[in-house]
Subunit: 221 residues, 2 copies
């Protein structure tokens, strides 16, 4: 049995959960808050980060390594595509979300709206939130551009780039960081993702003391 050490607002954990569900792999969730730096968790992953996937013997660390592992070992529709060039485009976009969108949009939202509220009990910094808002706007323009030319983010087929994108965007959206106005292409694509039974259940979860905005789990938003 796979155990996934994660928490509900960790976008990398959401990516693994969404992908595992698409692959038909059942994972048991273990709630882990990385900022608590629990000894047993640091022993498991010296980087101290979620997600970690383990079956008790094998310990898989880093969401990209975990997703590639599931892609390699679970026989089901490929989520990376069939040609090397296709896979390179999926991986380019996964890195875009895991690094660029995460650091410019998700990290400031998590630190100002989640960490300061739930852990540090301090007020959010309005300047940081404004900068994150501008970053989100630039990213959404780019996703619109791609989705006006492609059915899914990396091409004609649904794949790991869409999964990574949904993971990061849903966390930003939970934290009130996405203004959907004027981004119809991305909105339409995200609405299709929201209705997937492999992703929808996650949108029902809440972090205590931090409710999402009302539109967050709606298919029509």
């Amino acid at each position: 049995m796979w155990h996934l050490y994660q928490h509900t607002l960790c976008p990398f954990s959401r990516k693994v959960r969404f992908l595992a569900a698409e692959k038909g792999v059942t994972v048991e969730l273990v709630r882990e808050l990385p900022w608590e730096r629990r000894d047993g968790f640091i022993e498991l992953n010296p980087a101290g980060q979620t997600p970690v996937l383990s079956d008790g013997t094998l310990v898989l660390i880093d969401s990209v390594a975990i997703c590639e592992y599931l892609e390699e070992t679970v026989e089901r529709t490929s989520l990376l595509g069939s040609g090397a060039a296709e896979r390179a485009e999926q991986r380019r976009l996964i890195a875009w979300f895991d690094q660029k969108f995460y650091s410019e949009a998700v990290v400031p939202l998590l630190s100002e709206r989640m960490f300061k509220r739930v852990v540090a009990r301090a007020a959010p910094d309005a300047g940081v939130l404004r900068a994150a808002g501008r970053a989100v706007e630039g990213h959404l323009d780019y996703f619109d551009y791609l989705l006006e030319r492609r059915r899914w983010l990396s091409g004609p087929a649904f794949g790991m780039a869409d999964i990574a994108a949904a993971a990061h965007i849903s966390v930003a959206d939970y934290l009130g960081g996405i203004d959907w106005d004027g981004h119809d292409s991305t909105r339409q694509w995200y609405s299709a993702l929201k209705s997937r039974p492999t992703f929808r259940p996650m949108l029902g979860e809440k972090m205590e003391g931090l409710p999402p905005p009302p539109h967050y789990d709606k298919l029509d938003f």
Copy 2:
């Protein structure tokens, strides 16, 4: 013919160059300084980051996507290993260097010692450099721990994790950020890497106005 857009102190570019050399793939280097945000480069890569590998038709972006592409398409000894678990361990360590070592050690060194000197013409911040030094020390302790148990970073075989590590460590070392004292296991491993003909040539390159420390390209350091 492959063209690689890169600059000599970009660790992600060094990773691709080292790997391409191991795979026997010739790449023509194009010097690109990402902070100049050249229009033609942003058109090529909307993320504005080096490295980019292109043959004029295909445009490969992101060092992980590029390395996986070369691993998939070039028939030569595998640099990721043969089993899925082995590959997961390589990828975990690649992410460790690309994200953790890069952000905690290489970014502050690049910004204080390279960017401020060559571009901004300002004095480095001693506090930032001290914090980077402490981070490097912690990382080297972990690499020693691994290398006391393993021939190479991720196991018995040389692979992509060693390549990623050499790329990031060599940039930090160029910038005077590595104190090798007391880290014999990592030093011995790095000396073996330095003598590889696929890596050694890079150690002869210099960034103008920013000489490396004397030990930088020595096998005995």
